[in-house]
């Protein structure tokens, strides 16, 4: 097993500065700047077509930006010393020859990166593909293909992982596995991970920070906590006497009240403490008062402009 080389932690920072790229009339990425901090798991979020893949490809030196630049550890990707040991990447679609076995596929890249061939077997073990090592990759299921792609990315034991929609096409079991695997890589091995997704809930339990994109532009960058605090503070309140509850909270400034399908009320614009106090003052009996946890996805949708599809 190769251990990550002891380097300056800042060596694993990804910085995008004023990145722009267009395809014909379509402005895919517009003046995009953000930073991926070393040792963090950063979710790169936005609806399909927001410019996530294009941005990742510019970071990885596969696509040239019209303007701006992306650097890894202060260098352009093409100037990295031994990029295979520094950065591992999984991009959308399958990147392997269907007529080559999984093991031989990996051994092509151990050779190219100057790694020992035993490393191919190690990463197969790591992603649970050992029983299929000598099977042709063309016969793999979607989940196995994603695992093989991940194994390829992990060959050089890189400090940085860039993953484009790694959960795409995975079954629920596969998604749970991926979540645990990424968390393991980040927590126990201190890697920097940039993972894109068009569904916040898919990565919500994995990421520390988020970079949110809409139509090629940055709409939010920060921790998941900061995003949570963006919530409008809506609460779910249940009371036997609905009219009395409505009257009691009506005194609060700038609130919105909506009736939920289960008979409870969704009260926006006030904290749980404020609503509880108003009910107590008005002597209204309440049976439930809770913050609405589900609305993180709502914040995401509001930021990215509606549907996720």
């Amino acid at each position: 097993m190769i251990t990550p080389e002891a380097t300056d932690p800042a060596a694993a920072r990804i910085v995008a500065k004023g990145l722009s790229k267009h395809f014909g009339d379509v402005r895919a990425v517009v003046d995009l700047s953000f930073t991926v901090e070393p040792g963090s798991v950063t979710g790169f979020l936005g609806p399909n077509g927001a410019g996530k893949t294009t941005t990742l490809r510019m970071i990885l030196g596969l696509a040239h930006p019209d303007s701006g630049e992306a650097t890894i550890a202060g260098r352009h990707y093409r100037d990295l010393q031994d990029p295979g040991r520094m950065v591992g990447a999984v991009l959308e679609a399958n990147s392997f020859h269907p007529g080559r076995t999984a093991r031989n596929h990996l051994r092509v890249y151990t050779a190219a990166a100057g790694l020992p061939d035993s490393r191919a077997d190690e990463v197969l073990e790591l992603v649970g593909l050992t029983p299929f090592a000598r099977k042709l990759a063309g016969g793999f299921s979607t989940g196995m293909r994603q695992r093989l792609a991940l194994a390829t990315a992990l060959l050089g034991n890189p400090r940085i992982l860039v993953l484009d929609e790694p959960a795409n096409g995975l079954d629920p079991e596969g998604i749970v596995w991926l979540r645990g695997f990424l968390r393991h890589l980040a927590d126990n091995e201190g890697r920097t991970i940039l993972v894109s997704s068009h569904v916040l809930s898919e990565v919500e339990q994995t990421v520390d920070r988020v970079v949110i994109l809409r139509k090629g532009q940055l709409v939010r960058e920060g921790t998941l906590q900061e995003l949570r605090s963006q919530q409008s503070g809506s609460c779910i309140v249940r009371a036997p006497d609905e009219a009395a509850l409505r009257a009691a909270v009506a005194s609060l400034p700038n609130i919105t009240i909506a009736k939920e399908s289960d008979g409870s009320l969704r009260v926006g614009g006030a904290t749980g403490a404020e609503i509880g106090h108003a009910a107590w003052v008005a002597h209204v009996e309440i049976h439930q008062l809770s913050d609405d946890q589900a609305s993180l996805e709502g914040v995401f949708l509001a930021l990215t402009g509606g549907t996720t599809e």
Binding site: R57, A93, F96, R100, G156
Partner: protein, 261 residues
């Protein structure tokens, strides 16, 4: 570079491509040489069957049709990277794309050497027993057959490099293979036919890749093909190799500037 060469070598030997196309090359060469032997044996009069130097050279030179397979194997070897997106991990590990192209050309040349040796061997394996069964001497030295054999080897080998070059330039596999086949099997012969009418076209024609390949196998270049004067063999070899390198360099330039799918 040695890492990249090892990686390219592994890419080559871990799929069916190299031996699948080699079977095709062997079969095609054998059919071509055998057809020449059989038909020439029939149409010649009994007293001088297959005996003349020009006949012997022409029959041996027909083995160079193996070039179609060495060219297509070169094209597929290169374009497979783009077709199956293995260009991504390849260029992630070696972002200096020109070095990958160089490794590809060198590996393609090695593949060409193998194809060249096999195609030459097939021709020899058919001609030697055929001639000895007829009791006719093959003029290896007197008829310059050694040189023709060398030329057959050279044509087949160099076309693998031409194929890799075409593959860097035209990255869509189907488009690349079809364009190359249309050019070499159809268009260039058409230009060759037309250049018997116009002298200025003949001056251009002799520098085209298939004409350069013909120049290599037609050891006594003076009679040429259909009255056209071809280059001398060594010039043909240089011109053909140059075509391969021109394609590869043009492909390299576009590859470096364009985005990888």
């Amino acid at each position: 570079m040695s890492r990249l060469l090892r990686a390219e070598w592994r890419k080559l030997v871990t799929t069916k491509l190299w031996w699948g196309m080699l079977i095709g090359a062997v079969a095609f060469t054998a059919i071509s040489v055998f057809a020449q032997l059989a038909t020439n044996g029939l149409k010649r009069s009994q007293e001088l069957p297959l005996g003349t130097g020009i006949e012997q050279r022409a029959i041996l030179a027909s083995a160079s049709v193996g070039y179609i397979f060495s060219m297509v194997v070169g094209i597929i070897f290169m374009t497979t990277e783009f077709r199956h997106f293995t260009s991504r991990p390849t260029f992630l590990i070696e972002p200096r794309r020109g070095r990958v192209v160089v490794a590809k050309v060198i590996t393609g040349a090695g593949l060409g050497v193998l194809y060249g040796l096999v195609c030459s061997a097939v021709a020899v394996a058919l001609m030697v027993p055929w001639y000895s069964s007829k009791g006719i001497t093959l003029g290896w030295a007197s008829n310059d057959l050694y040189l023709v054999l060398l030329a057959v080897f050279g044509v087949v080998a160099i076309f693998a490099v031409v194929g890799v070059g075409i593959g860097v330039l035209i990255r869509n596999q189907i488009t690349a293979v079809i364009s190359a086949l249309v050019w070499f099997l159809l268009l260039e012969s058409l230009i060759g036919a037309l250049s018997t009418l116009w002298a200025w076209l003949a001056d251009i024609y002799k520098f085209l890749p298939a004409a350069a390949a013909s120049a290599m196998t037609q050891i006594d270049a003076a009679p040429g093909r259909g009255g056209i004067t071809l280059l001398v063999p060594w010039q043909g070899a240089i011109v053909l190799a140059a075509w391969g390198l021109v394609f590869a360099i043009a492909g390299w330039v576009t590859l470096t500037r364009r985005d990888v799918a």
